[in-house]
């Protein structure tokens, strides 16, 4: 299959997985055990941890990295710590969350509401980019935290995290309150764009390995400031995330991150070239790249992710027929969509595009094409040929 769904998950690096598996066999102890076998495993775990911290740029004293079971979990831990705090002191905190967050953040909000936590959703501009001032002006005396993603998974829009953090900080000082915690979901950003948490003025970040050719089942939470987790247990990871640590996955995470950082500039360049190629073909066949007004080489967007509308054809149907294959691409092509054909799901999948003010018709007929390290110009050409022929055959 021709794989153009890297944003959903990356094709793993076999060597990275193998490295992790070897480590698991060679260091089988429980890192929390007091005996020599456990201590040896713990040493390896710390090696992985410091390796990842080093790859994330210069660190201030007190920075921590906690291994989690997924990027979603790394998002959930700071969210749920708010619930713990709210139920403890009976306060009614307020939080700012962007309207374009991933479900890992968005779907938790109704639960937080039951703990008395009120949310203001901050919408992006029509170009899919969040505006720092809109965070500043939404800040209230009771605003405790801000949740914002660094790179949007549907549009590829790179968000101005440092500016947002600055605006929040300045506004907080102006109204005389302590700076709210800022948590950033960098699950798509890592490996696609430069991202150094310590330089951004933020308090925590969520990462995931399987977007950068690592294994599924491991994420990481970078923290500059401590928090009280809701879920307690065996005390591992400094008490922040209970559960026996996966040395195997942590090692693989460190390994794939090193490789991703080393290849980042070259990959971005190659990605831009593919972006150009893709755009040309799409515009030729009457497809509409999103957001409206995006052009290839536009550095507001990552070249690796592109949503594109094919008016007159439902996104879900298009994904289906591309997957099935056609003469131009008999092996089938993998892309994705948030748009769904069913009445119930009709609105759920297109929240991000609609938050940008995109008309329903375009959101409904959009698919997402995302490239990665192994994507070549041939893949783009095959996709364009298949899309052209299928679009012609199936558009209403």
């Amino acid at each position: 299959m021709i794989y153009l769904d890297w944003a959903s998950t990356s094709l793993p690096d076999r060597h990275v997985l193998a490295d992790g598996a070897d480590i698991a066999s060679d260091f089988p102890g429980n890192p929390s055990s007091l005996h020599a076998l456990g201590r040896a495993a713990k040493a390896k775990l710390e090696e992985a941890r410091s390796g990842i911290l080093a790859a994330l740029g210069p660190q201030k004293a007190g920075a921590k990295l906690v291994f989690t079971g997924s990027g979603s979990e790394a998002d959930a831990i700071p969210l749920l710590s708010l619930a713990r705090k709210a139920s403890k002191d009976g306060s009614k905190p307020h939080i700012l969350v962007s309207a374009i967050e991933h479900a890992a953040i968005y779907e938790q909000l109704p639960v937080l509401k039951r703990f008395g936590i009120e949310t203001s959703l901050i919408r992006p501009a029509a170009d899919g980019c969040l505006q720092a001032e809109s965070f500043g002006s939404a800040l209230r005396p009771e605003t405790e935290a801000v949740f914002v993603m660094a790179l949007n998974n549907e549009t590829g829009a790179i968000q101005p995290i440092a500016e947002i953090a600055r605006a929040v900080s300045e506004r907080a000082a102006k109204i005389g309150r302590r700076k709210p915690r800022i948590h950033v979901d960098a699950i798509q950003a890592l490996g696609k764009t430069s991202f150094e948490p310590a330089s951004l003025g933020i308090d925590s970040v969520a990462f995931s390995a399987h977007k950068i050719r690592g294994p599924r089942g491991i994420g990481a939470l970078w923290m500059a400031r401590d928090l009280e987790p809701l879920i307690l247990g065996g005390g591992q990871e400094g008490g922040i995330r209970p559960g026996t640590e996966s040395l195997q996955a942590a090692w693989a995470f460190r390994s794939c991150l090193d490789k991703a950082m080393a290849s980042l500039p070259a990959r971005i360049e190659a990605g831009r070239a593919l972006e150009h190629r893709l755009f040309e073909g799409l515009l030729d066949m009457g497809a509409i790249p999103l957001p409206l007004g995006r052009r290839p080489g536009d550095d507001r967007y990552s070249p690796f992710i592109l949503s594109v509308a094919f008016p007159g054809l439902s996104g879900e149907v298009f994904v289906r027929i591309l997957s099935e294959g056609c003469p131009e691409a008999p092996e089938g092509i993998a892309v994705s969509t948030g748009s769904a054909c069913s009445h119930n799901a009709r609105n759920k999948g297109r929240r991000v595009l609609e938050a940008m003010g995109l008309p329903d018709e375009l959101a409904f007929s959009s698919i997402r094409v995302s490239t990665g390290e192994l994507t070549g110009p041939d893949d783009i050409d095959a996709f364009l040929a298949a899309a052209l022929s299928l679009y012609k055959a199936y558009r209403a």
């Binding site: 879900e316 149907v317 027929i321 054909c341 069913s342 009445h343 119930n344 209403a396």
Partner: protein, 400 residues
């Protein structure tokens, strides 16, 4: 068979006339034989009932089959005892114990004896057994009018003892009413409609309209799984899949927007009619319920059924959704029906559908669409899938 599970099975609708009764029982014999084919069994037929014996390990399967065969009123696990009082008493106490464990507090004993050489007569048997059961169960009392359970004793070539029968489906054996064509979709209603008609003795084959790529393979698989559920009741079923995409597209292009669903249902009925008459099916069955969706107002039903003069049987026409859901859960189709795979892409559903079709006007519009050649092509492309009878209903799929 060493350790046998024995069942007494009661059959027959009370109001059947004598001539019909014979056909009924013959038909039921065929069904039972077919459905028990995979389980080594011995069946002993008598008027109005029969005994089924299977190995103990196959008891649960046999019970499932008995519970899902239309025409059976009830069935009871039976103990076969030697024709001496001690053995019969042991059996009677066991039957009583089971019922008491299930919460019964009153009982009576009914005995029948066709072997007149047995030392005690029916009255004496009942009395003696009654005493023993009371002695062994102090809290229990006798109630000759409305007991919680009855201990039945029959003395024939052997002695048979059994308690209250479990309820069967009742109804008429599948096939006694010929065969009908069920319009089956992935929704909650049509499988229940099929089940209700199977209970009335209608053999069924099912027709599903598939519009790939607008409907997914998962939606098709869902319908196949629903057909498997029905097969457990009908004794096997044929699923006919109609390639409906071209017609769907033609309607989207050519029909007025508020009429698309109605035209689609009329086209489905036209295909169903042609196919059913060719196959010798006597009727069409749908899951329609009055007023449940826009296309199911009385005026709309009149229009959508115009292409056929076969009776369109709608067992759910007066049933509300909650009742239908209760039945769907009971027959095992509900969890499958709620899998999130639609059989009609939302692009084909009008925002504001017409609620009251006018027969003459809409018929003219339908004819003007000239769907004839597309309908013929769809019928030619129909695919057949045989779903054999299986005791096991396919388990519901994993959570999405």
């Amino acid at each position: 068979m060493e350790h046998k599970a024995l069942y007494l099975v009661k059959v027959g609708e009370i109001l059947l006339k004598l001539g019909n009764r014979r056909e009924f029982e013959n038909r039921l014999k065929v069904e039972i034989r077919k459905r028990l084919a995979d389980i080594p069994n011995k069946v002993d037929y008598q008027p109005g009932r029969f005994f089924v014996a299977v190995a103990e390990e196959r008891a649960t399967e046999a019970e499932n089959i008995l519970s899902r065969t239309p025409g059976i009123n009830g069935w009871a696990r039976t103990i076969r005892a030697e024709k001496n009082f001690d053995d019969i008493a042991k059996a009677a106490l066991a039957v009583a114990a089971t019922s008491i464990a299930a919460g019964a507090s009153s009982f009576k004993v009914e005995s029948r004896r066709s072997d007149k050489s047995f030392p005690l007569d029916s009255f004496e048997i009942s009395r003696e057994l009654g005493h023993l059961i009371l002695e062994a169960n102090p809290g229990l009392r006798v109630d000759l009018h409305k007991p919680d359970f009855i201990v039945n004793v029959e003395i024939r070539d052997r002695a048979f003892v059994y308690g209250n029968p479990a309820k069967g489906l009742r109804g008429l054996p599948v096939g006694t009413q010929g065969r009908g064509l069920l319009l089956l979709s992935g929704g909650i209603d049509s499988p229940v409609a099929g089940y209700l008609m199977a209970k009335r003795g209608l053999n069924l084959e099912a027709m599903y309209f598939h519009a790939w790529p607008y409907t997914s393979k998962e939606a098709h698989d869902k319908v196949k799984d629903l057909a498997r559920v029905l097969a457990a009741y009908t004794g096997g079923i044929t699923l006919w899949t109609v390639p409906f995409t071209d017609i769907q597209m033609a309607l989207k292009k050519g029909a007025r927007e508020d009429l698309t669903t109605l035209m689609m249902r009329a086209a489905m009925m036209e295909i169903a009619h042609a196919f059913a008459t060719k196959r010798g099916d006597t009727c069409i069955v749908t899951g329609e319920s009055l007023g449940q969706v826009a296309s199911q107002t009385a005026q709309n039903l009149r229009f959508t059924q115009f292409p056929t003069d076969l009776p369109v049987l709608r067992p759910l026409i007066g049933t509300d959704k909650e009742e239908t859901i209760t039945m769907a859960r009971a027959i095992g189709s509900f969890d499958i029906s709620v899998r999130p795979f639609e059989d009609c892409c939302v692009i084909f559903s009008p925002e504001h559908p017409l609620l009251k079709a006018e027969l003459g006007r809409e018929k003219a519009a339908y004819e003007a669409l000239g769907l004839g050649p597309l309908i013929e092509k769809a019928i030619e492309g129909i695919e057949r899938l045989e779903i054999p009878f299986a005791e096991r209903i396919t388990p519901p799929s994993a959570l999405r």
